[in-house]
Amino acid sequence: MTLVNLTGIQAGDFSLLADDHSPEEGAAVAVPLSRLTDEGDDFFKVAGPVGAVLTTDTNHADLAPLMNKLAFVVVDFPAFGDGRGFSLAVRLRKDLGFKGEIRATGPVIPDQALFLLRAGFDTVEVADERAEAFKAALKRFDSFYQTDYTGQVSLAHARHKATEERKAS
């Protein structure tokens, strides 16, 4: 697998912790959300940077109590068409104010690269042979009709930027 960096974030170097293992002291690990919820604070005391692995049907409200403890989040797509993953990233950025890395895993396709970036993802783990296609897809479009969470404002606003700036001054 290759990690494609969408935003230029310092990507986390972590491993997936097996179900029946305890974290080594100080290790960077990704674990299913359910385990973090069950084990609570004890888990965070032992491990180093901890990330939650989320299924796309995760209710964002369940993440709220963990927001100041998670270093990163992994959204695992079961299929590329499961668009709940996009809303989950939007929720993390918008409702929960999450600033850490959001990574996509699973069978997402290169043509989704810009959608992932614009929904709030930083990185995506892809099959080696698809990495170039992902990178190429990032360059396809350079203006957008929606305001998004990368700081990109919608064309509806951009078209009138000069007017808005005049008003503000």
Binding site: G81, G83, S87, L114, R118, T147, V153, A156, R159
Partner: protein
Amino acid sequence: MYAYDKYDHALVNARVEEFRDQVNRRVKGELTEEEFRPLRLMNGLYLQLHAYMLRVAVPYGTLNGTQMRKLAHIARKYDKGYGHFTTRQNIQYNWPKLSETPDILQELADVEMHAIQTSGNCIRNVTTDQFAGATADEVADPRPYAELIRQWSTFHPEFSFLPRKFKIAITGADIDRAAVKWHDIGLVVKKNDAGEIGFEVLVGGGMGRTPVIAKTIRDFLPEKDLLSYLEAILRVYNEQGRRDNKYKARIKILVDALGADEYARQTEEEWQKIKDQPIDFPAEEAARIKAYFAPPPLQVLSDDVPAVDELAKKNFLFAAWLQNNTNQHKVPGHVNVTISLKPHGGIPGDATAEQMDLVAALADEYSQGELRISHEQNLILPHVAKKDLPAIWTDLDEAGLGIPNAGLLTDIIACPGLDYCSLANARSIPLAQQLGKRFDDFKRLQDIGPLKIKISGCINSCGHHHAGHIGILGVDRKGEENYQLLLGGSGAEDASKAAILGPGFDENGIIDAVEKVVAVYLGEREEGEEFLATYRRVGPQVFKEAVYDAR
């Protein structure tokens, strides 16, 4: 009408290049058909029974003469010389070569058209009243809002992989010609007591195997909040809509499961969180887009045109056409002309390249260069001076387009059916053709009056049979085509679901059954009463007896 700026051009051109790359990868074998499928679908390219089919968007059914000529050119150069106008106000080409589709899209981009999001589980082409901006019974022209929604929904980063396809319809008129209550979201432009523009918002309408009429979740949404409120509706749906069963994945199923009140509550809760973010269009952008839809500078003329009356007295077909195929424009002395694509014995919605060229020329000469496509699969010349009607009708009639049946029994909506579609159980087009032949008498049609027949070749109901005054549904019964008869549906402001009358029929039997239904209506109707009103008054029993007892 709207004209692209440099940003719109850049986006559509970039999309063409992206698709060209995808097709090249497919042709070279770098993409399997399975991998290519979702990519081509996002660009309106289907694989049908015999060939690829390309669905081109006509945003909210509005186009100009130049664009129509381009559609004709594409039909001639890349297809078999014709195209099919659909209930989604789009056009479909049935025989394009895969390798040529990128060139088709480039030709479309050159005239500010595209095939973006005409398929796939995303927000589809927004549809509206075919007389928008040209009808007297209108609060405001809905097309600026349709364009704002088109832009907002194009390549939406969050809502491009929904549980299922998503259709938004908007009307600004009292008479609902856009079937807004049958859409995932229906919007009705309204004015409040202070004279401000806003929208009634309905959710959860849809046809398919579970027909549902949309429910109102907000009586008046201020204009400036449109996009953030849509975003809230879509977020609730994207997160909670079912993804385990494609037949239960539309928003109507979620609205039904939660209840409309709960759906409204969750939408409101979500909307409160986002309504002040820069999601909505700024006022300057609304003004910019509205300026493109400013009413054309029509002179006020007399509605009394002796030359028109004289031709109507001499020629029964012109008189019928005048009555059925024109409707009053908001400017006196003007009308909107419906060009029927329903010749008796023909294929509903089909037009040849020559016919498209003629209609484009008529638009340039008589209708401010503007054209519309109706969800009933007809073409519209808006803003026509009444005095020009004899000349227009003569030209149309020579090209086989002067059929005076708009709104009458033979103005049939039919899906492509088993002649083209891989989902169909039965043929639809031949039924429409048979009905056209059986009722090929304009005096008789005129006497029967307004009657909408809608035919679907399978339960997915692309032919809107649930909303037909008379609906016909093709099913497969032990390997044979069988047709169910439904009565009493409506797609208008008085929306209702048609009900199955009884056991189904074979191809000949269903035509006879329609004739019997019409005979019952003619016997039961009161002075001036239309078919649907009679059916609603007398109920199904008398129709049932006539249709089944004689068997």
